[in-house]
């Protein structure tokens, strides 16, 4: 006979409750971290510092939401950092030439982002090629396009309209504009996923592709749409990146795909597809941005950052695997009874 299972301990119950809602876990971690860091460095909680943190977090949250939708369908988009870089640079160049008013330049950038996402989605669904291969390829193709546009020159802050970069820290009623944009996007995509048939199909395709096909869900169309949306959101993140940094190089945003995927995984979106929320992904982005900033204000070596990101990804996926294995074990035991 199998061993009878004892009552889970106090610790087990707490971790169980937290494990059930990744969003709650993250909020708890974020609060905890803020508390500890502000003890060591009071300036951590200063308005100007928090503005910096949240602006950066907003950019990663927006890109992370697109990535989260892709991951929900059991795909991955590695090209998003090149989309961000390309859009940021393109908008900068357009403004430098002064042909277009600022909002039109932004729209152009976002449109290009959408187009790049559609290219990814089309190649993946038409040729039925694994998304990791396609986006690994477009990661460098899109980056190559930036080099072509750049022609060896960067876009300087001085090329841009006066006060352009201030937008990054502007506030409305005390709330930074970037944060408002991120919250609005979280709300829109959240509603899309929660309240529409399309949104539920995103989860269905990632949860059980076979069952989805039997129900007549057009999973390739869903996949295409999701990559397009990821491109669009990457475009928005790219525009914001340009505003935040002002000076943009051809290599801008290189390597941030890691942070974006990390935000998604830490946010509780399982790489196995079918689960997760955009709120989780956004909180994941905030969490990582806080770690980044904490190292800064605590005057810890910045070199630690990537190692920490790597460790955080590994811990988050291992925790997921552990939790789901425990659930499976329980289900098997129930079935045996």
């Amino acid at each position: 006979m199998p061993k009878t299972q004892g009552q889970p301990g106090m610790l087990g119950r707490v971790t169980g409750a937290l494990g059930r809602s990744r969003e709650l876990t993250l909020v708890a971690l974020i609060v905890l971290m803020c508390a500890i860091v502000s003890l060591g460095a009071p300036q951590f909680l200063s308005i100007s510092n928090l503005d910096q943190v949240t602006a950066m977090a907003a950019i990663f949250a927006i890109a992370g939401i697109g990535e989260a939708m892709v991951v929900m369908t059991k795909n991955i988009d590695l090209s998003v950092e090149s989309t961000i870089g390309l859009v940021a640079f393109l908008v900068g160049v357009t403004l430098r030439q002064g042909d277009l008013p600022v909002p039109a330049a932004w729209l152009l950038g976002i449109g290009v982002g959408l187009l790049l996402g559609m290219v990814n989605g089309a190649v993946i669904t038409v040729f039925r090629i694994p998304s990791i291969v396609v986006t690994l390829g477009t990661l460098s193709i899109f980056r190559g396009l930036v080099f072509i546009i750049a022609g060896g020159k960067e876009v300087n802050l001085s090329d841009l309209p006066a006060g352009y970069a201030n937008l990054a820290t502007d506030t409305v009623l005390g709330v930074p504009v970037f944060v408002i944009v991120a919250v609005v996007i979280v709300a829109i995509v959240g509603l899309l996923l929660w309240k529409t048939r399309f949104g539920r199909q995103v989860y269905a395709v990632g949860s059980n592709a076979e069952a989805a096909a039997i129900l007549g869900i057009r999973s390739r169309l869903v996949t295409f749409a999701v990559f397009s949306i990821a491109g669009l959101l990457g475009g928005i993140a790219g525009v914001m990146w340009g505003i935040y940094f002002g000076t943009i190089y051809a290599t801008s945003a290189s390597g941030v795909v890691l942070q974006i995927v990390a935000a998604v995984v830490v946010g509780g979106v399982s790489i196995a597809g079918g689960t997760g929320t955009v709120v989780g992904a956004a909180l994941g982005a905030l969490f990582l941005a806080l770690i980044n900033n904490a190292l800064l204000v605590l005057q810890l070596p910045q070199e630690l950052l990537q190692a920490i990101y790597g460790a955080v990804i590994l811990v988050a996926v291992s925790a997921d695997a552990l939790l789901s294995r425990r659930n499976k074990g329980q289900a098997a035991q129930e079935a045996a009874r």
């Binding site: 529409t196 269905a204 949860s207 059980n208 039997i214 129900l215 007549g216 079918g274």
Partner: protein, 505 residues
């Protein structure tokens, strides 16, 4: 009365095998109609045809008198034909309510999903079913029985005209079965035509108005259950006329494999048996009775929770197939394509895969040696191919199975476990497989043969162990065995008589 669903002249072939031949079925409104037959009789092919998974090669389907084709499962749903499959096909990450309403969720004024309404309707459905269910919980982690209920709720939500239940009770407890019956009877009262596919004859009599029997993909009889008895039903199901190659009598040697009180996590409980050298032990039982699970534990794929296994009188506990095969156990798995063969590999590469380290202790492959070894094991089995270099994916089912057997013979086993060795194999190849197995027993192998094919079990086995719901229901000697006896035990009919049959040591 116009039948809800009327099938006439339906035929369906898969490559070399005819799954259905000219079958007919009339499902009336407000009746519960049983479809019974042995494994492989063609029941699930028929269900899949009605569900839109398979397209019939010939024949005609009428729904409420109107001639239709069912091109896809989605089309079947649209025609309000609901199918509850044996294995629930749900989305583990989505909630119970959503699994029911995924395709057509209730919406509010903005055409967005009305979650509260969805949950209310889902809760309503379960109330009708008289079941307690948390409709906002995710499906992941729910028991098989609960998942089955969700499938039934899904069917109810369709307001189905035709409801097909494919072995719905396979994983349910007695209480859950009772509850299901109440629900099905209530559905019937609404004029739905219910097709109830089952192995369990007691359930057929308890629930159904009429019964249709299939055998070898052909229609045998349709009659009101009041005019049938368990015995007559069994007689219609069995009695397949198949040319067989019965096992030759051989002298039995020492006990090679002894199993005592073996249990695993979910599949079977307290199973004991002994197999001697030269003996064939037949393991009979319905699908899901726990037979394959026993084999998987013996071969080191799954772990046991209790009991012991003795090989040559010494206790063994294999943690991987490689340990088991080194100790001299070979397992011909049920799913040839998934587990038995590397389909893209040649015959030779498949046969030598388990013995590569033994064959080439110095790492380097030698094609000539490999081909010779492969030939020396495949030729006696008369594998029909252009040569041992041919890819096994190009072979017929019977020849593929011979390659699997050759592969395991090459490991020079002492215990050979065969899991459904002739499933999906044509008659000629089947006789050859039987001849091979019989000859192997004569050379002193201890053989465990799992089979759902009753004539095969009867012809080949020295002894038959019948499992029912994970326990030994009967142990029948060759001289006492008959199809009826095995079938009765396998369907749990003679539990009282067979209670003492699970012997000790």
């Amino acid at each position: 009365m116009t039948p809800r669903l009327e099938l006439t002249g339906i035929s369906k072939r898969f490559a070399a095998t005819a799954a259905l031949t000219d079958v007919a079925l009339r499902l009336l409104p407000g009746e519960i109609h049983a479809l019974v037959g042995e494994n492989g009789a063609g029941k699930s092919t028929l269900v899949k045809t009605i569900a839109g998974v398979h397209q019939p090669d010939a024949g005609e389907i009428r729904l409420d008198g109107e001639r239709i084709t069912i091109p896809s499962p989605a089309a079947a749903r649209a025609m309000r034909i609901a199918v509850v499959h044996q294995e629930p096909r749900l989305f583990p990450d989505l909630s119970v309510a959503e699994n029911i309403f995924l395709i057509a969720p209730p919406t509010d004024r903005l055409h967005t999903i009305a979650w509260r309404e969805m949950r209310r309707r889902a809760a309503n459905l379960f109330e009708q079913l008289d079941v307690k269910m948390d409709v906002s919980a995710p499906v992941r982690g729910l028991s098989m029985a609960d998942q089955q209920l969700i499938e039934i709720a899904k069917a109810l939500s369709l307001d189905a005209r035709v409801l097909i239940l494919d072995e719905p009770t396979a994983s349910l407890s007695t209480h859950e079965v009772e509850r299901l019956f109440t629900i099905v009877r209530r559905t019937k009262e609404r004029g739905v035509g219910v097709l109830f596919v089952s192995h369990r004859l007691d359930e057929v009599f308890a629930l159904c108005d009429r019964a249709t029997v299939f055998r070898d993909g052909r229609h045998v009889i349709t009659a009101p259950t009041s005019e049938l008895t368990t015995a007559s039903l069994v007689r219609h199901m069995v009695g397949r006329e198949v040319s067989l190659f019965p096992k030759e009598a051989s002298t039995l040697g020492e006990p090679l494999l002894e199993v005592r009180g073996l249990s695993d996590a979910a599949g079977f409980r307290d199973v004991s048996f002994t197999v001697r050298a030269g003996e064939i032990l037949g393991l009979a039982g319905l699908v899901g009775a726990g037979r394959t699970e026993i084999a998987r534990v013996l071969f080191g794929i799954e772990s046991r929770t209790a009991g012991e296994v003795l090989l040559d009188g010494k206790p063994v506990n294999f943690r991987s197939p490689s340990e088991a095969l080194r100790a001299g156990i070979a397992y011909v798995p049920e799913d040839r394509h998934q587990d038995g063969l590397v389909l893209d590999f040649s015959i030779a590469n498949n046969i030598t895969l388990p013995i590569l380290p033994r064959l080439f202790p110095r790492l380097l492959l030698r094609a000539r040696v490999e081909d010779e070894v492969a030939r020396s094991f495949s030729e006696p089995l008369r594998v029909r191919a252009t040569g041992v270099g041919q890819a096994v994916s190009a072979l017929s089912g019977g020849n593929q199975q011979k390659v699997v057997i050759a592969k395991w013979l090459a490991t020079k086993p002492r215990v050979l476990i065969l899991d459904e060795p002739t499933r999906g194999v044509d008659i000629g190849a089947k006789v050859e497989v039987h001849r091979i197995v019989s000859e192997l027993a004569a050379t002193g192998l201890a053989i465990v043969m799992i089979s759902s094919d009753l004539p095969e079990v009867l012809a080949m086995s020295d002894r038959i162990l019948v499992l029912h719901e994970g326990r030994v229901a009967a142990e029948i000697a060759r001289s006492d065995a008959s199809e009826e006896r095995v079938m009765f035990a396998a369907t749990g009919q003679v539990e009282a008589a067979a209670a003492g049959a699970g012997h000790g040591g």
